[in-house]
Structures are given as structure tokens and as C-alpha cells.
Amino acid sequence: MNAASRFFLYAVLALAALYALAPLWVMLATSFKSLDEIREGSLIAAPQAPTIAAWSKAWSGACTGVRCEGLKPFFINSLLMTIPAVLISTIIGALNGYALTHWKFRGSELLFTALLLGCFIPFQVVLLPMARTLGALGFVDSIFGLIFVHVVYGLAFTTLFFRNYYVGVPGELIKAARVDGAGFFTIFWRILMPISGPIFMVCVIWQFTQIWNDFLFGVVFAGSDSQPVTVALNNLVRTSTGVKEYNVDMAAAIIAALPTLLVYIVAGKYFVRGLTAGAVKG
């Protein structure tokens, strides 16, 4: 490749990166400006007198509807909902994948196909039946209800992930453990879990992103005290008392997006590795 075409290539890449990063820059810059500066300055200019006033207001003072406590309580709601939902759906998905690959039973293929179908069901379709189910179970308007919903709808994906990973684990490994005297759960915990690191990370990232970013279930099934941060962000942006506080909106949006960004930064490298990992070599 000669210098000219190399230059062209990098120019195109830089442009694409700029295009993707520009909105983030605008958000970051705006969130550190005061309202006056936003009104007078340019949209993409760096803040002249950076202030974290907007951030602290978004976190603990901004109004989301009638409450004016910022995003903090809802952020905590989101954590309380996401962490258990991610862990439970991942562990059950791992058990499902293990059973579907190494303890096949009559109809296990059919069951797997049926589970796969769950990946393609649009969430809007299940809103009403799920509302009735939550009502019948007594989980209405609670974080517990949201956890339940996310576990149920995450299972299709987590099962698929683990099933495809465990298919690559040699059956002889399981047989050897059975001859050694290990049962279903012993084999799972002692043999399979220690080699499931990569796919575990994939599952956690996927589920965390899905559940943290979910708006629909949050807005439909949560009560006013159990709303996740996505719903609160929407309320915060739409609640205005006279002046539209762009800096607070931007800071709130970044706060709401921060955990998923963090998960990607910390565990992102496992994501691709886990998706491409094949058979486990003894």
C-alpha cells in the first residue's frame, strides 16, 4: 500500500471516529457548562469555566416529575434490579446450556428450539400477559417483579450462549466425571464452571446492557418507587420548570449510560474472545 492510499484510509477512519464521538463530546462539554455559557457559546466549544453544578444537580437535585431528588434513588433501583437479574439469568442459562448439551433427554432439541423462539419475541407482545402474570404472583410495582421479568426474557439468550459454548466441551469429560462418581451439579460446579469464564463474561455483558438499558419493562411494570434510571432520565428531561437545563439533561444522560460503558471497558476484551472461543482443549 502506498503512502497516498494509506493516508486516505486513515482519513476515512478518523472521520468515522469523529462522527461517532462528536455527540459524546457535545454531551460532555455541555454538561460542564453553566446555562449562561450554553446560551452564549457555541455547541461544540469546550467549557470556558468548567463546573460540576449540573452533575450534582442531575445526581441529587433535579426534578423527575414531582420528586426532586435527582437520579440517585433510581440509579440505585437500577443496580438493585440489574445485578440480581444478570446473575440469576446467567446461572440458570448456564445450567440450561449444560443440561441441553450433556444430559440430553427425549425432546431436549425441541425444548431448545422453543427456547430460541424466545429470542425473537418482541417485548411489546408480552406486556399484557406479563402484567397479568405479575399481578397473579403479587410482584406488581416492585423491583422484584422487574427482576423476574428480566430473568425470564433473558433466559433465551443466556441459554443459547451457554449451550453453544458447552457443545464444544468433549462429552468424554462429562463421562469421566460420572465414572469418577460426580453427579449433575458436582460436574457443573467443579468441571464446567471453572472453564466457563469467557462465555460467562459474554453473558454478563450482554445481559447487563440489555437490562440496564431497558425502558419498556421499566416504564410499564415499575411502581413510582421502583423505577429504573432509564425511566427517571426520561422524566427528568421532560420535567421543565421554565428554563430547559441542557447541562443537567446531558449530565443525567451520561450518568445513566455510565455503568454499561464501564462494563464494556472492564470486560469488553472478553466479549469477542468469548464469542469466538471454541472447543476446550484438555
Binding site: P170, E172, L173, K175, A176, R178, V179, R190, I195, G282
Partner: protein, 376 residues
């Protein structure tokens, strides 16, 4: 220590009426301390049978007994067996020590006793230096040893081997083969060993069961199977190179019979081999047969010391020098036939024909239609 009985075992996958039957009524009995080989091509059902003995596959029909006690319904862990797998199946996240200790700790063996067992097994298999390593840090041969160590640690009643040597290179395979044989000699544990390699079968087994399409073709001692195969499949499967199967016609000569076969490609000449009197009752004049002859029984003068020889002159089509022997390809009865000659005879077979001696006492006759050996 245990005897093993396999009685009328059938295995059907899927629906019992419509499914695929992979084992069609297997009967095998081995005594305490015997080494049984299950040998056959891929898909013959040998591994399925082994898995059934282990309890890893259900039995569709029939009965498996250990020490005379029915074990069909027992899970693998209660059968007191240990198994070595083709892929070794070492637990990848555990060290060699933990691999060996896994079965012991699940059986709640006290820690001190575990350590003693590990030390004993490691010494026996010379893997003391590897105990701290993970399976990924071991070579193929080392993994093989660890897999055997894991099985040995439990002191099982029956040892099961599922093609344990087929992932090793040729040299290591021969080494490990003798080591398994030695180990069996020393410990005397009843063993069932699955292989597709007929040399492993011959060298290791006290008893061999040759299998094809879910049926045991022949069950007997290695010599019996090698010298008196019951059908053409066994004759062709056991031995390397396999037994020659030469089309011939029987002719009555007085009270005896001779087998007449053509020599060379043009079929211009033919040769008559006297047939042992044992066969006489089973034969009739001008009957077509397949004459089974091992390559080493078609040989040249330096080797043919037996009194029951017939000398013939055969065309030389190809010679392969293996070092210990010369394999000579010729045509008998219109088909390729191999002879095994002394390595010193290379100069003598420069010509187009060579004189060979056939040990007719070793000759086996088969019915060409059914492939079955004619009764002696």
C-alpha cells in the same frame, strides 16, 4: 477383581421398534483378571458396548453382570469401574494431582489416604514430577499416563479402556502398549479394552471379540482368531497385512482333495494345493472355495521348514522391503496375493518369477457365498 458377563445385550437408539439397532445380541464372558479386547471397524458398536458396561449408556435388552451380580440399573459410580478415554478427558481446570484425587475425594477417602494413593500411582506411572501441572502443560504421552493414573487410583474391579492409544504417535503407542500389558500383568485387574487396531488386539488380549455391525463375529484367544478365523471378515481384519483370500476350485484326488488355483495374471498356469484331510467331509468335487493363507505361510526356502509345504513358482509384481521382511505382491486365483519373504532373498527375486513354498497345513477354507469358514 471381578468377572464380567454380557448376556444377549441389545442396544437400539430411538424407538425400540423402528430405531437403529447398533448391538444385536452380544454374549461375552470373561473370568476374573482376564484382558478382553473389543475390536472392529468404526460403527461396529464396540464403544457403545463399553459405555454400557460403564453404565454411561442404558441397556435396551439383555443383562450385564459383574461378579455374577446384575448391574444394568446401577449408575457408573456404583459399579466400581474406572475408565480411560481416547481424548484422556482430563479435567482442564485441575492440576494432575487434583485430577487423580477427584474421584477419591468424591468418595470421601480421607486426605492422608488420598495422598498415599496419589504417591503410589504417581510412582507406578512415573508422573511424580508432573503432579503440579495442568493438563494443558502436558504432552500427549504424559496425559495418557495421568489418565491411567486417575483410573488406577481408585483400585477398581474392572478397567475400561476406550481406544486409549489412538491419539499417540507410532513410537509412543508401542511403548504405552507394552506398559499397559505390564501393568495388567502386575495388577491382574479385569480389563475391557476397545480398539480398532488389530495389532493392539493381538498383543494385549487374553480374549478377543471381533465385532462388525453390532454382532460379535468371533470370540476367542488371539491365536485361535489369527489361525482359525470363522469368516472372511475376521480373516481380512486381523493380521497386517491381512490374510490372502484366493478363489480356487476343489478337485477330488482319490480320497483327498486339492485346491486348484490359477497363477499369474493370464491364468495360463494353475497349481493344486493338497488340502488337509480334516476338511474332507465338508467338501465336494468342483466346489468353489476361498483359500485363506497368511502372507507368512507363502514364503521362500530359508523359512519354509515345515514338512507340509508345496512349492510353486509365482510371478513377481511388486516387492516392498520392510527391513525385517520383503513383502512380495503376486497374483493367485486372479486376485492380488501377498507373500512374506526373507530379507536376504532380495537378490533371488530380481527375476520375473520366484519360487515360494506354501505351508498347506495352515490353509483355511471359506465358502465364497456366505464367507463362513468350512468346518474342519
Amino acid at each position: 477383581m471381578a468377572s464380567l458377563g454380557i448376556h444377549n445385550i441389545r442396544k437400539t437408539y430411538g424407538d425400540k421398534a423402528k430405531g437403529v439397532e447398533v448391538l444385536k445380541g452380544i454374549n461375552l464372558d470373561i473370568a476374573d483378571g482376564e484382558f478382553l479386547i473389543l475390536v472392529g471397524g468404526s460403527g461396529c458398536g464396540k464403544s457403545t458396548l463399553l459405555n454400557m458396561i460403564a453404565g454411561l449408556e442404558t441397556v435396551t435388552e439383555g443383562e450385564i453382570t459383574i461378579n455374577g451380580k446384575r448391574v444394568n440399573e446401577l449408575p457408573p459410580k456404583d459399579r466400581d469401574i474406572a475408565m480411560v478415554f481416547q481424548s484422556y478427558a482430563l479435567y482442564p481446570s485441575m492440576s494432575v494431582r487434583d485430577n487423580i484425587a477427584f474421584g477419591l475425594s468424591l468418595r470421601k477417602v480421607p486426605k492422608a489416604e488420598q495422598d498415599a494413593t496419589i504417591a503410589r500411582v504417581a510412582k507406578l506411572l512415573q508422573i511424580e514430577a508432573l503432579l503440579g501441572r495442568k493438563p494443558a502443560q502436558l504432552s500427549g504421552g504424559q496425559r495418557q499416563r495421568v489418565a491411567m493414573g486417575r483410573a488406577l487410583a481408585r483400585e477398581p474391579q474392572i478397567f475400561l479402556f476406550d481406544e486409549p492409544l489412538s491419539n499417540l504417535d507410532a513410537k509412543l503407542r508401542v511403548e504405552m502398549r507394552s506398559e499397559i500389558k505390564l501393568l495388567h500383568k502386575r495388577l491382574g485387574i479385569t480389563t475391557v479394552y476397545v480398539t480398532h487396531d488389530q495389532i493392539e488386539a493381538m498383543t494385549l488380549g487374553d480374549k478377543i471379540a471381533v465385532m462388525k455391525d453390532g454382532v460379535v463375529q468371533q470370540f476367542g484367544a488371539p491365536n485361535e482368531i489369527y489361525n482359525h478365523p470363522v469368516n472372511t471378515f475376521v480373516a481380512g481384519f486381523m493380521g497386517s497385512p491381512p490374510m490372502n483370500l484366493i478363489p480356487a476350485t476343489m478337485q477330488r484326488r482319490g480320497s483327498d482333495f486339492v485346491a486348484v488355483m490359477t497363477v499369474g495374471e493370464g491364468a495360463a498356469q494353475s497349481v493344486a494345493l493338497p488340502v488337509d484331510a480334516r476338511y474332507t467331509t465338508a467338501l465336494s468335487d468342483s466346489q468353489s472355495v476361498l483359500v485363506g493363507l497368511r502372507p507368512e505361510h507363502i514364503t521362500d526356502a530359508p523359512r519354509a521348514a515345515a514338512p507340509t509345504v508345496a512349492s510353486i513358482s509365482v510371478p513377481v509384481e511388486l516387492t516392498e522391503v520392510t527391513g525385517a521382511d520383503i513383502l512380495l505382491t503376486t497374483t493367485l486365483g486372479g486376485v492380488r496375493a501377498l507373500a512374506r519373504l526373507h530379507p536376504d532373498s532380495l537378490d533371488a527375486i530380481r527375476g520375473h518369477t520366484v519360487s515360494v513354498s506354501i505351508d498347506v497345513s495352515r490353509l483355511v477354507l471359506f465358502d465364497p457365498a456366505t464367507g463362513l469358514a468350512l468346518t474342519r
